[in-house]
Point group: C2
Chain length 247, copies 2
């Protein structure tokens, strides 16, 4: 359907996909069912289609799953105070970074953490939301993605995929890009052979997260959920990003 515009009088087999922001997602609160909200709001883009890949910002899943921590509830250890002095980050944030990670490296003001789930994430994905609250990444992003996929499929009757994304920087450049934290419905990896026969593995879940983040990233616009439409990626309902982490 979305291909029609280009199919008219053009060469056949033009490969393309469209990235569409789902409009009007309300402020998410603890206990909200994001899958239901996405289904409702996707009417604003004419509904979902089979094969759609829905990319959701991890922050709203953290909110729905109660992963927003009250700063005053955090007991700060000596180690967290030391980390705070070394990095200039607030001590409660440092405490949560220590709690969330198995290992960390301090580089100036940056903390590169091995999150206990296996990701390498700046500050272990711990983010100061406002003066009083700090967010953690979802407890099991693959499971969050799976539950959301199943709910959206049940409500929409369409077979779709879900990718959960977080912003994440690279050491060599300013600014942050995106990574996938969890997937359901498609594989994280695409394996292809180059013309020379060399096997190639691509982290398509991260490419999808980045494509969506071009729209998600524009803060203040309530676009934490985005659809990628027209990508021909094989279905896999058993997939987990965890299986592709190098631990």
């Amino acid at each position: 359907m979305i291909r029609r515009e280009f199919d008219r009088g053009l060469e056949g087999n033009v490969e393309q996909f469209t990235t569409i922001a789902i409009p009007g997602i309300p402020e998410i609160k603890e206990g909200d069912d994001i899958g239901t909200i996405i289904c409702k709001q996707s009417r604003g883009i004419g509904g979902l289609l089979g094969g759609d890949i829905i990319v959701v910002a991890s922050k709203i899943i953290s909110k729905a799953e109660g992963r927003i921590i009250d700063k005053s509830s955090i007991k700060v250890s000596d180690k967290a105070n030391e980390l705070s002095q070394a990095t200039g980050k607030p001590a409660p944030v440092c405490q949560l970074i220590l709690d969330e990670s198995s290992d960390l490296i301090v580089r100036g003001h940056t903390i590169v953490a091995h999150h206990k789930l296996g990701y390498i994430l700046t500050s272990a994905g711990v983010d100061q939301v406002d003066e009083f609250h700090i967010s953690l990444i979802p407890e099991d992003p693959d499971l969050s993605a799976k539950k959301m996929r199943e709910k959206i499929e049940e409500l929409s009757g369409k077979k779709i995929a879900v990718v959960i994304t977080d912003s994440e920087g690279r050491e060599d450049r300013a600014g942050a890009g995106a990574v996938a934290l969890g997937v359901s419905g498609i594989d994280s990896i695409r394996r292809t052979a180059s013309p020379s026969g060399k096997q190639q593995e691509e982290t398509i879940s991260d490419m999808i997260a980045n494509a969506a983040s071009l729209l998600i990233g524009q803060r203040g616009k309530n676009t934490p959920a985005v659809v990628l439409r027209g990508l021909n990626i094989g279905r896999n309902t058993e997939s987990r990003l965890q299986d592709y982490l190098r631990k």
Copy 2:
């Protein structure tokens, strides 16, 4: 134009963009003018539009710019032989990695290199093309992007942007995503304020590179050039990715 499909009877202000492979790019040889080839082949997608962002795989620029090295021409040093023994990579490849980088870290079979241009790149972007040839990244990817942008703008009469991309992995996960090596016509970084007032910097050049790589990556299909259409990113003809590298 591409927005029409969704504008019919739907909510206003739906944000979206389309990622389209430019079909039928021939095998690139040294001396080829890729800008001219892209303009010609873009007829297959109905021509270019103002605001299009054209993403090009660095590999074909390396080919056009004579950055494919004959393996037999490489004089291997003792240091390259040592690196070869430590990593299992061919000694000529190791020699070029040493030549291209200012500093490197060996992690098992992986070489994380500080490329002399400032990027952190696996194997310094050195890639074995076939049994007899090894490719280096373009000598100055920002300049390659600028020349290509100017040529495409001259031929098409449209104001466009160019992003040069290479595949690149992350330490925590299998497979490779993409990074931008050079840009022209748009900034590498987008600065926005979150609702809480926190300044946010996003590496949109990398997000664009990744979105395109969902189509570029399918090897053997001759899709080394991809258009992102419908993204509303401000024009900057003086931009260089180099200015956003943390050196």
